[in-house]
């Protein structure tokens, strides 16, 4: 017996009516697609009873570009351009995942220099992404100044990327077999200068936002998600680690040179917004630690192991690779039929899987809490819709 498909109107009508004794009227409010706090074109249908949220129904698809369909017509190298545009705040890591999948299946070797630079870029990208998250988080909660401080500090990393890769947002830097270009001569100096500049800034961030009593009151105990819920809801990244599950791909299945560096994985206690916030702040510190260990020890070698025009063909079969982006685990599932274009390429997007936890956390809280929760999950909408 199959289920017959329903429409959004059916879903709204089916939303369970509240069984409270006071006769109040519940109403639906539309948050988005244009809204200051939904971080992109996301529409949330919120069923409200006064200020209390009864149900959250996310409606996605406003930026669905058919990347998976397009992938079936592009070679692997060309697909890397598209992978930039998923979660554009982790563009380099997205590139890396696709390259990992291709290199593993096609048997392309890389050297230590390439892996070290890839790891460095991924960690810089993680810091950059968390800086933006922190700024937007403050802005969503009303502390507007945090937004500008986060962006000011992020500019240093963006400049480093622009020098080396040529782009500020969609880098398209990591290619199968190596890197698009070798690193800029000022790369090491720039990164060291950034680290020295940023470490006291983190202390300033703590003082400005984390230590503020209003922030604490708005985050502690809000949006609690137990670890079983978090796992069942498919969350990964800081959302999952905030709920107490220690699952970080950089430790469990190390790629790049993560197995050669020392760092800790911050894990939260109860899975409220504060835990997720704290996990990301700590991750910034740990990323700095990783960068410091690697920046002086970049081995010599070539930056690209195969000819840029070489045809890359994957053997027939199914392969799956994943990496830890700033928001969670991005996975690439490639089904190849032996040619140089994938037969089916599927992207396991971290933001798609993280978003739905808001339907579990939202009910019972207030609108202002909903904004805080959405901010603490930290979604980038193009990654949801692909």
């Amino acid at each position: 017996m199959t289920t017959s498909p329903i429409t959004l109107a059916d879903r709204i009508a089916a939303a369970p009516a509240d069984a409270s004794s006071l006769a109040t009227q519940e109403y639906f409010v539309n948050m988005g697609p244009q809204h200051p706090s939904t971080h992109g074109v996301l529409r949330l249908l919120v069923k409200l009873d006064g200020e209390t949220v009864r149900e959250v129904i996310p409606v996605v698809g406003y930026i669905h570009r058919g990347i998976e369909k397009m992938g079936e017509y592009l070679t692997y190298r060309k697909f890397i351009h598209l992978s930039d545009r998923l979660d554009y705040l982790s563009a380099i890591t997205n590139n890396w995942v696709v390259c990992m999948a291709v290199e593993k299946a096609a048997g392309i070797e890389t050297n230590d220099r390439i892996q070290t630079i890839r790891t460095l870029c991924a960690e810089l990208q993680r810091i950059q992404s968390h800086q933006l998250w922190w700024g937007v988080f403050g802005m969503d909660l009303g502390a507007f100044t945090a937004f500008l401080y986060g962006f000011r500090d992020r500019e240093m990393v963006t400049d480093i990327f622009e020098e080396t890769t040529g782009a500020r947002l969609t880098m398209n830097y990591i290619q199968p077999g190596g890197l698009m270009y070798d690193i800029h001569p000022d790369f090491v100096k720039g990164v060291k200068k950034f680290i020295e500049y940023f470490k006291p800034k983190l202390a300033e961030y703590e003082q400005l936002v984390s230590g503020n009593v209003i922030i604490q009151a708005r985050l502690r105990g809000i949006g609690v998600m137990s670890s079983e819920s978090a796992i069942s809801l498919g969350t990964t990244g800081p959302v999952l680690r905030g709920s107490g599950v220690e699952y970080d791909l950089r430790k469990t299945e190390p790629y790049g040179v993560y197995s050669k560096v020392q760092f800790d994985v911050p894990v939260g206690r109860i899975g409220d917004c504060w835990d997720r916030y704290w996990v990301r702040m700590e991750e910034m510190r740990q990323s700095i630690r990783i960068i410091e260990q690697l920046i002086d020890n970049i081995p010599e070698g070539k930056h690209m192991m195969i000819k840029p025009t070489a045809k890359i063909k994957l053997p027939e079969g199914l392969s799956y690779s994943q990496a830890e982006t700033a928001r969670g685990i991005l996975g690439v599932l490639i089904v190849s039929d032996g040619s140089d274009k994938p037969y089916r390429i599927h992207l396991r997007s971290p933001n798609f899987n993280n978003l739905w936890s808001v339907t579990a956390m939202g009910p019972g809280l207030r609108i202002a809490d909903l904004v805080a929760i959405l901010s603490s999950i930290d979604i980038v909408v193009p990654d949801i819709d692909r």
């Binding site: 802005m139 969503d140 009303g142 000011r152 503020n212 609108i367």
Partner: protein, 376 residues
């Protein structure tokens, strides 16, 4: 002691400096038997003064807010229009005047058009009674403090009417939040005001200022004055819907709150009334707690008092008000927003009990002359 004809004087015993308070209302009434043209002239002067004050305040304060915000955020702010952006607000005003005036299709048209004016009305009515200097005051009602508290609370009408008439759920939410917030915080503000009334012995605003000739109530009344000052400042910031209490317009939650559906000049009126409100709140706080136009005196230290008297009173008033405006702006760009139930909790469970205890302490202090330089 009524406002018609009687000038109040207070003398600083040794060097006989006399503050002579004369308001525009007094002058008008004095001129009634003599010359109707003078009466008309004074009335026109009053109207022009208020209108230009409102406009001037709008221009100056909006520019100041943008520059202060910019410097807090490590950027420059407006720099292009005029030297360092001084003409920015003028440019913005012209732009807003030229914008299309939109009324939503199914909104309540009359109420929608009326709301911004209601908002501005309350603000202007309070501007009229503030003592800017001994000779610069438009009217000095003998129930000044009560008038300020009552009429100031009128501002909620504009917000409620705007939110209701917009036919927009977000606006309604914003308006309802604002309604709850403003009527709650009025209570704390009034309790704090009452402490000052007890100390100065009069409701009349000029008398309150004159009573601070031995020292400002913020320090002269021991900690009681300071606590009352803090409560009044926090409650007033909540009254004018500024961060951390700006849930009514909550930009990142409700897009625009009660003023979402407003555009063009009518939106500018809301904007303007927010800034003029800020000035009014700062002015009233300065008047009650920081001495208004009264220079910084310490009791009977006559040489110090004489030096302080050299600065004209209107400069003292503007200085104190500007400082408080800066502090209010500082709050906005530093603190995040409180959630609505936390805001209510702050008022009903924290500020109000402290205010009551403070009031009781003030009564005891006045009864037993337990403050610095008691008046008798």
């Amino acid at each position: 002691m009524t406002d018609d004809g009687e000038d109040r004087k207070v003398t600083n015993a040794i060097d006989a400096t006399v503050w002579q308070v004369k308001t525009l209302a007094t002058r008008t009434l004095e001129a009634v038997p003599d010359s109707p043209w003078l009466v008309a002239g004074y009335l026109l002067l009053g109207i022009v003064a208020v209108a230009s004050l409102v406009a001037g305040l709008g221009i100056v304060l909006i520019y100041a807010e943008r520059k202060i915000a910019a410097h807090f955020q490590c950027r420059l702010g407006p720099m292009r229009v005029g030297w360092h952006g001084l003409l920015q607000t003028v440019a913005d005003t012209i732009k807003l005047l030229l914008k299309e005036d939109i009324v939503p299709a199914r909104a309540d048209k009359l109420l929608h058009l009326m709301a911004p004016f209601l908002s501005l009305l309350a603000t202007v009515l309070v501007l009229v009674v503030i003592p800017y200097s001994p000779t610069l005051q438009i009217a000095d009602v003998n129930i000044g403090v009560l008038y300020v508290s009552a009429v100031g609370g009128f501002g909620i009408l504009g917000i409620l009417v705007a939110g209701w008439s917009s036919n927009n759920k977000w606006s309604l939410l914003g308006a309802m939040r604002a309604g709850a917030q403003i009527i709650s915080y009025e209570i704390s503000a009034t309790i704090a005001l009452l402490a000052v009334v007890l100390f100065s012995g009069s409701l009349q605003l000029s008398a309150v200022v004159l009573s601070q000739s031995q020292g400002w109530w913020i320090w002269r009344a021991h900690g009681i004055g300071f606590v009352a000052f803090m409560i009044f400042l926090i409650a007033s910031v909540a009254e004018i819907n500024r961060t951390p209490f700006d849930i009514a317009e909550g930009e990142s939650e409700l897009t625009g709150g009660f003023h979402t559906e407003y555009s063009g000049m009518r939106f500018a009126f809301f904007f303007l009334s927010e800034f003029v409100n800020m000035f009014v709140v700062a002015a009233i706080t300065a008047t009650l707690f920081l001495g208004g136009w009264m220079p910084f005196h310490i009791g009977n230290f006559h040489s110090l008092n004489a030096i302080m008297d050299l600065v004209p009173p209107v400069i003292w008033f503007l200085g104190k008000t500007s400082f408080l405006i800066f502090v209010i702006m500082w709050f906005r760009w530093t603190f995040p927003r409180m959630r609505v139930d936390q805001l209510m909790k702050l008022e009903w469970k924290i500020l109000l009990p402290i205010g009551f205890v403070n009031l009781g302490a003030a009564a005891i202090a006045v009864l037993f002359n337990l403050y610095f330089f008691p008046s008798h």
